[in-house]
C-alpha cells in the first residue's frame, strides 16, 4: 500500500499545524464560529447532536496494521473506546473535544493519516473497490490512480470553495463495488485495444434528496489527461453550479438542468483551452505510486487444501462463515476474508478499540499487515492463505467479529441517524438492530440469499437507502418517527433508484414489514437463484404492496 515519503509527511504536518493555529484562534475568539466552521469541516470536524465528530480519511479504504492500532489508541485516549466505519470507507469518532483535535491530528500524522477534506464543499476522500488489487474480475488495480487523485485534490487552491461537496469514486473491475454511478464523478479504469490504460468518466450521479444515476461524459480519457480532464469538469462546476440553493448545488443538478450534451460541450471547451502540461502528473509520478501497490510476495500456497475442507465439514459455523464471508482471490491458494462489523443486533459499522487492535494483529499475522474498509461498512483482510482461514476464524469468534453475513440481509448499511446526527429526522440504528434480530437465524438468511437493506435517518441518504434492494428512510410525522420503504434500488453496475412502496411504518413495525416483504419474495421466486431484484423486476411492486397493505 501507499507509504508517505518525506514530502507527504511534511504536507500533513504543516496542515496539522495550520489547524492547530486555527483552533487556537477560534478558542481565543479571534475567529468567529461562522468563519471557523468551513475551516473545521475541511479538517473533518463536525458539530453533531451530542458532541464534535471527527471523520478521518482512509484513502480508498486501505489501512496498515500500524494505522489501525493508532485509530484504536485515539478511540481509547480521546473518545469512548470505539469508532464508526462509514460507507465512504472512512472512520468517525463520535466524542472528541475541540481542544484535543489538534493533538489527534498530530497523532494521525504520526502514522501517515489525516482528516483533510472528509467534509466541506471540496473534493472529498476518493473511494474505490475494497477488493482492489486482488479481485478476480479486475482489469487493473485502481488504487494508484485513486492515490494520484488523492494527492491532486488535497488542499486544491481552486476547488476548496465549491458550490457543494464533491465525491469521486474509481473502480478497476467489471462488477462495480464502489457505486461509481452514484458519485459526482465515477471513473472506470479501462484498457484500450493497444493495451493502454485509460478511463471512462461518468458525471452527475448522487443520492441525497434527488437521487440520480451518473451519465457518461467520456468513453476514454488517457492516463496523461486524467487530471486535466478532472480540472475541466470541476471548473465548469465551480463556475456554473448553483449557489442560490444548497439543495440544488450538487453537480448532478447542474448536469440535469443543463443536459449532459451541453454540459459535456462546456467541459470539452474548457478542456481544449487548458494549458495541460502543468496540470498533468509529473513525469514518473504514476510509476512511483504504482511501485507501492505491487502485490505482496505471495508464498506458494496450496489451493483448496485438505485441512480447509476438513475444518469446514467438522464445523458448520466455520463452513457458514467461509460460504458467506470468504471471496475468491486472484492468487491460487489465497482468499479474501471479509470481517463483518454487523453482529446480530449490534451497531452496524462500529468497532471497539480492542476489536481494532485485534484486527491489526490478525492482519499482521495473516494478511501482510494490510486492512481494507468496505463501503458496506465492513473490514477486509485481502490476502489470507486458505490454509490460515480456520485459525483466523477462531481468533475472530471470541471478539464478536465472525458473523457470517456478508451480503446477507443482516449486513445492512445504516447511517448514524438521530442517535448521533444533528440533521436526522429519525433513528436508524435501532431499526437496523430490530431487523437484524428478526433475521438472526443463519439458516433463514441462507434461504433468503443475497439481499441488501440500507437505512438512512433522513433524506440526505447517507445510508444509501435509494440504492438498497430494500431501502428504509426515517422521517418525522407529527413528532413521531416513521419509516418509508422503497424497493428495487441497486448500487452496482446495474444502478437503479428504489421506488416507494406506500405509506410508512412506525419504528416498531418496520422489522415486521421487512419480514412480510421477504416472505413474499421467497414465495414469488421461481427458483432459489432468482434474486430479490430479479423478482421485483419481473413482478413489479404490486404483489409486495398487496402483502404489506392488504389487511390494513
Amino acid at each position: 500500500m501507499y507509504v508517505y515519503d518525506d514530502f507527504d509527511e511534511k504536507f500533513v504536518r504543516e496542515r496539522a499545524a495550520q489547524f492547530r493555529d486555527q483552533v487556537e484562534r477560534r478558542l481565543s475568539g479571534q475567529l468567529s464560529e461562522a468563519h471557523f466552521r468551513p475551516l473545521r469541516l475541511m479538517n473533518g470536524v463536525y458539530l453533531q447532536l451530542h458532541a464534535y465528530m471527527l471523520r478521518v480519511a482512509v484513502p480508498y479504504g486501505t489501512l496498515s496494521s500500524k494505522q489501525m492500532r493508532q485509530l484504536a489508541m485515539i478511540a481509547t485516549k480521546y473518545d469512548k473506546g470505539y469508532g464508526h466505519f462509514t460507507t465512504r470507507q472512512n472512520i468517525q469518532f463520535n466524542w472528541p473535544k475541540l481542544k484535543d483535535l489538534p493533538d489527534i491530528l498530530d497523532d494521525l500524522a504520526d502514522v501517515g493519516m489525516h482528516a483533510i477534506q472528509t467534509s466541506g464543499n471540496c473534493i472529498r476522500n476518493v473511494t474505490s473497490d475494497q477488493w482492489a488489487g486482488v479481485a478476480a474480475d479486475e482489469v487493473t488495480d485502481p488504487r494508484p490512480y485513486a492515490e494520484l487523485m488523492r494527492q491532486w485534490s488535497s488542499l486544491h487552491p481552486e476547488f476548496s470553495y465549491l458550490p457543494r461537496k464533491f465525491k469521486i469514486a474509481i473502480t478497476g473491475a467489471s462488477s462495480d463495488r464502489a457505486a461509481i454511478a452514484f458519485h459526482d464523478i465515477g471513473i472506470q479504469v479501462l484498457k484500450n485495444d493497444n493495451g493502454e490504460i485509460g478511463f471512462a468518466v461518468y458525471v452527475g450521479g448522487g443520492l441525497g434528496r434527488t437521487p440520480m444515476v451518473g451519465k457518461k461524459i467520456r468513453d476514454f480519457i488517457s492516463l496523461e489527461d486524467l487530471l486535466p480532464y478532472l480540472v475541466a469538469i470541476l471548473r465548469a462546476y465551480n463556475l456554473e453550479g448553483r449557489r442560490d440553493n444548497k439543495y440544488k448545488a450538487r453537480i448532478k443538478i447542474l448536469v440535469h438542468e443543463t443536459g449532459i450534451d451541453e454540459f459535456k460541450a462546456k467541459v470539452e471547451k474548457i478542456f481544449d483551452g487548458l494549458e495541460k502540461e502543468k496540470l498533468r502528473a509529473p513525469a514518473g509520478e504514476i510509476e512511483r505510486i504504482q511501485g507501492f501497490f505491487a502485490l505482496p510476495d505471495y508464498a506458494s500456497a496450496e489451493a483448496n487444501p485438505e485441512s480447509l475442507s476438513k475444518a469446514r465439514s467438522e464445523n458448520p459455523a466455520f463452513d457458514a462463515w467461509v460460504n458467506r464471508n470468504v471471496a475468491e482471490h486472484k492468487q491460487a491458494g489465497y482468499a479474501i476474508a471479509n470481517i463483518s462489523l454487523k453482529p446480530i443486533a449490534g451497531i452496524p459499522g462500529d468497532a471497539t478499540s480492542e476489536q481494532m487492535n485485534l484486527v491489526a494483529d490478525l492482519a499482521e499475522t495473516y494478511s501482510f499487515s494490510e486492512i481494507r474498509v468496505s463501503h458496506e461498512q465492513n473490514l477486509v483482510l485481502a490476502h489470507v492463505k486458505e490454509t490460515d482461514l480456520f485459525e483466523l476464524w477462531q481468533a475472530l469468534v471470541p471478539a464478536g467479529l465472525a458473523t457470517a453475513n456478508i451480503g446477507a440481509i443482516t449486513d445492512m448499511i445504516t447511517c448514524p441517524g438521530l442517535d448521533y446526527c444533528a440533521l436526522a429526522t429519525a433513528r436508524s440504528i435501532p431499526v437496523a438492530q430490530k431487523i437484524s434480530e428478526k433475521f438472526a437465524d443463519q439458516k433463514r438468511q441462507e434461504e433468503i440469499g443475497d439481499l441488501k437493506v440500507k437505512i438512512s435517518g433522513c433524506i440526505n441518504a447517507c445510508g444509501h437507502h435509494h440504492a438498497g434492494h430494500i431501502g428504509i428512510l426515517g422521517l418525522n410525522k407529527k413528532g413521531e418517527e416513521y419509516y418509508q420503504i422503497t424497493l428495487g434500488g441497486s448500487g452496482d453496475q446495474a444502478a437503479a433508484v428504489g421506488e416507494i412502496l406506500g405509506p410508512g411504518f412506525s419504528g416498531d413495525d418496520v422489522a415486521g414489514a421487512i419480514d412480510t416483504l421477504v416472505n413474499r419474495y421467497v414465495e414469488l421466486r421461481n427458483e432459489t437463484s432468482e434474486t430479490f431484484l430479479e423478482v421485483v423486476k419481473r413482478v413489479g411492486l404490486e404483489p409486495f404492496k398487496e402483502a404489506l397493505y392488504a389487511d390494513h
Binding site: 514530502f7 504536507f11 504543516e14 495550520q18 488535497s154 481552486e158 471548473r235 487548458l274 502543468k278 509529473p282
Partner: protein, 158 residues
Amino acid sequence: MPIIKDGAIIEDSWTVLDEESDAPSSADIIIPLNIMLEKADRLSNHSGRIGLLIPNDVAVEDHADLIAKADLVVLELPAFTDGRAYSQARALREDLGFEKELRVKGDVLVDQAAYLLRCGFDSFDFEGEFDAVSWEKSTNIMTTGYQRTYRDKLSYRD
C-alpha cells in the same frame, strides 16, 4: 478599504468608474465589464491606466481581447464561500496568460489568502481589518503543495 499587496497595506491609485461620472483622463480607473462593453468609445482619449472589474458569473475566455489590454483585472468574492473567482483567476493566469495585476475584492478571509495567492491574485481589496501578523502566518504555514499553479512559491515533490 485597505489594499493589501505583498503582505502590506499600500496606497491605492485606482478609482472605480460608475455609470455617470467621467474620471479625469489621466487617472487610473477601474471599469465594470458591462460599462466597458457598452461605452468603450468613451475611453478612446483616456491616457491613464485602465482596469477591468469582472463579475463572477462571466466566462473570462469570452473577453480575452479586453483582458489582454487591461492593466488590472479585479474579480469579486461576494461571500468567502463563493469560490468562482478562484477558477476565473486560474483561467486568466494559466490559460489566457494575463500577467498584469490581478486583484480580488470582497469577503476575503485571512485563512483563504494562501489559496488566492496560488490561484494568481496579487492584491486584495477586502472588507474588515487587516492584521499583518495573521496574514504573514496564514500565507506561509503551508510550504508544500500537490498542484502546480501560476507563480507558485510552494515546493512540490520532484
